[in-house]
């Protein structure tokens, strides 16, 4: 705009009409500024680099900063203390593939189409990585793709795509063969989390003029929960694991939990789970240290999240899928010194996996497409006083051969209402505020009639709003 004005005003004779057009343009530009979010005024002029670290099955409360009784995660704690920690972060479907697709697209599973671990990824889906690439970012997806379909898709908008397809895309903890930009490549490091972090660091360290976006998608801490050699057994001396009272060592063997039953007793599996989280923490530490030493920390957004939670005996369950808190609640933290002016803050607003894509686009200064169901959390990061969602839709689709029925639920700040697509599973209603462990189903409680009706209406509204009723 300024170049045109200069050209028009100083190098040419201009008519009154042209002058009015220029004046109108300037006014319009001024008007547009009125609609620019306030946080943008204080945001750094340079577009930020973005690192998104996604772990697998990492439950929200398995961090030392969340009060875990013995697990030590100093680097993740540091990340939280230097940024914002969301105490109420959830996934809209508690299953690896649908949740991962939701992170990438900002959409519910009923829209992006990856409804379970079998329905294939539709490559017509547009990821936020593709949008960033179009906007001039250097992009890399490194790690677990794990979405159904033959091999890896020809994802658009990636400069680097490093993943694995072995074990139906689950990969291996040790010596996992990779596919590096389409080429089968043997592992360079023995342990997968270190291997993927190495590739991530190589990408970050590349000389470039553009900002970058790294999507570091870890295999850990999915079962079989194998820590690296030097972390093996670090928690073997812990006597009181803090597992729930209703849990017992045999839960992995019952209720058709064959995969879990073959992996050991609940205590053993849980110790390995915690040890494997420590391995993640260590690699996150490496990444943060490198950002510091490269001088990139101030202009790099680092986001850490889990793709879903996991049960460790709560409700006498292992695995995930169900709509209880242990399954749907994930760690979610964001560090961005350029925007977050009061680091160490913990926010209680309910944020979702579908919020990631709009948030990243917003941070990059891009328009959030209307077909994304999520909301940008940038105003929350910038400590702006904004109205936020008070309810959201949870959905789970049948995933063969697991014997968990289809689920729809609505979660509000205080309540959760769950409907199952099976006559053997009656609906459930919990007062999360007074019953955070969801032990007391008040569905049939006469005093809860009003709130039940409201939540049932809200569930229908949320389905309608997100297009779930059209499916």
């Amino acid at each position: 705009m300024s170049a045109i004005i200069k050209d028009s005003l100083f190098n040419k004779d201009i008519s009154r009409r042209e002058l009015l057009e220029i004046f109108g343009g300037v006014m319009a530009a001024g008007m547009l500024d009125m609609f620019t979010p306030k946080w943008a005024f204080s945001a750094p002029a340079q577009r930020p680099n973005i690192i998104f670290i996604l772990s697998d099955d990492h439950r929200w409360d398995h961090l030392s900063c969340m009060g875990h009784p013995f697990l030590k995660t100093p680097n993740l704690d540091k990340l939280a203390s230097q940024g914002v920690m969301f105490d109420n972060a959830f996934v809209t479907t508690s299953l690896c593939s649908p949740s991962r697709a939701s992170f990438l697209t900002g959409q519910y599973a009923h829209t992006h189409g990856v409804k379970n671990n079998i329905t294939p990824w539709n490559n017509q889906n547009v990821t936020f990585m593709e949008r960033l690439k179009k906007a001039g970012y250097d992009t890399a997806f490194i790690g677990k793709w794990h979405m159904p379909g033959k091999g890896l898709p020809a994802l658009r908008g990636l400069d680097r795509f490093i993943s694995f397809t072995i074990q139906r895309g689950q990969g291996r903890y040790f010596n996992c063969p990779l596919i590096v930009d389409g080429v089968d490549t043997p592992s360079r490091k023995e342990y997968i989390t270190e291997e993927l972090t190495d590739y991530g660091l190589e990408f970050i360290k590349q000389k470039r003029d553009n900002p970058f976006c790294l999507y570091l998608s870890l295999k850990a801490v999915h079962h079989r929960w194998l820590p690296p050699e030097d972390l093996k057994g670090i928690y073997s001396d812990v006597k009181d694991l803090g597992l729930p009272k209703e849990a017992d060592n045999w839960l992995g063997f019952v209720n058709n939990h064959i995969i879990y039953g073959t992996l050991g007793s609940l205590d053993d599996m849980y110790r390995r789970y915690c040890e494997t989280i420590v391995a993640i923490d260590r690699q996150v530490g490496r990444l943060l240290d490198n950002l510091d030493s490269l001088g990139l920390a101030d202009n790099t957004v680092v986001i850490y999240a889990g793709d879903n939670g996991i049960f460790w005996g709560e409700h006498r369950l292992v695995d995930k899928r169900f709509a209880y808190e242990e399954s749907i609640r994930v760690p979610f933290m964001v560090r961005y010194p350029g925007l977050i002016k009061s680091p160490g803050k913990r926010l209680s607003q309910m944020v979702l996996n579908i919020d990631l894509a709009p948030t990243i686009l917003d941070l990059a200064g891009l328009k959030v497409p209307e077909n994304m169901h999520g909301k940008s959390i940038v105003p929350l990061l910038a400590s702006r006083d904004v109205s936020w969602r008070t309810s959201w839709l949870y959905e789970y689709f049948l995933d063969f051969p697991y014997t968990v029925p289809g689920i729809n639920a609505v979660r509000t700040d205080n309540y959760k209402y769950i409907e199952y697509q099976s006559k053997d599973y009656p609906p459930e209603l919990y007062n999360i505020s007074s019953d955070p462990k969801e032990k007391n189903n008040i569905y049939k409680n006469k005093q809860a009639t009003q709130i039940l009706g409201e939540l049932q209406q809200e569930l229908i509204r949320l389905k309608k709003e997100s297009g779930a009723l059209d499916m």
Binding site: R224, E246, N249, W250, V254, F400, D424
Partner: protein
């Protein structure tokens, strides 16, 4: 060897293992409630009941077959004795899955790694228990036949292969094949 009455050859061996399974499952299922008031007691009860539950479902042949063998059961009767409890357990799991899957999906589901595994385990311990019984009774001069019968060894080997494959790579090998075939058939 003397052949005893049918109920001694078949019904009692089946009944012992079946009763053990029913009791242990029910005790295991109430153990969390006991554990709420008395955690230590609840833990002991869940551990003991779970062990018996596991034995009755997965290793019941080692209990049932020696009874049937001593009562002079025929080979067909021994097969029935060893497979009855796992079959009932499988039927129960299929019935429960019936509230979630239906039609051909349910039919296919009933061949999942867990049901195949439990049948494989029954064949494995049937073959092993029969061979051990033959070894013991032969050493006492109570049976004239050879210890190692081809049909028994074959049963043992089939069971062993199924169990090993079922446990291979943490149980994931057969599981993934099962899901892949499902994907081909239903998607």
């Amino acid at each position: 060897m003397e052949q005893k009455a049918f109920y001694q050859r078949v019904l009692i061996p089946i009944g012992i293992v079946m009763l053990l399974m029913i009791l242990s499952i029910n005790i295991y299922n109430v153990s969390p409630k006991i554990g709420l008031g008395h955690p230590a007691l609840g833990r002991v009860i869940s551990n003991i009941s779970a062990i018996f539950m596991f034995i009755s479902i997965w290793l019941g042949g080692f209990i049932a077959l020696p009874y049937a063998f001593r009562a002079g059961a025929t080979m067909k009767e021994k097969v029935l004795v060893c497979l009855a409890t796992p079959a009932v357990w499988v039927a129960k799991t299929i019935y429960m899955a019936g509230s979630i899957y239906s039609g051909w999906e349910l039919v296919y589901w009933s061949f999942n790694t867990l049901t195949i595994g439990v049948i494989g385990s029954a064949l494995l311990n049937m073959g092993a228990a029969e061979t051990i019984c033959r070894l013991v009774y032969k050493s006492k001069g109570l049976i004239p036949e050879k210890v190692f019968q081809p049909s028994v060894i074959t049963t043992f080997l089939i069971g062993l292969i199924i169990v090993v494959l079922g446990l291979w790579n943490g149980g994931t090998l057969l599981f993934y094949i099962f899901v892949d075939i499902y994907t081909m058939l239903f998607y």
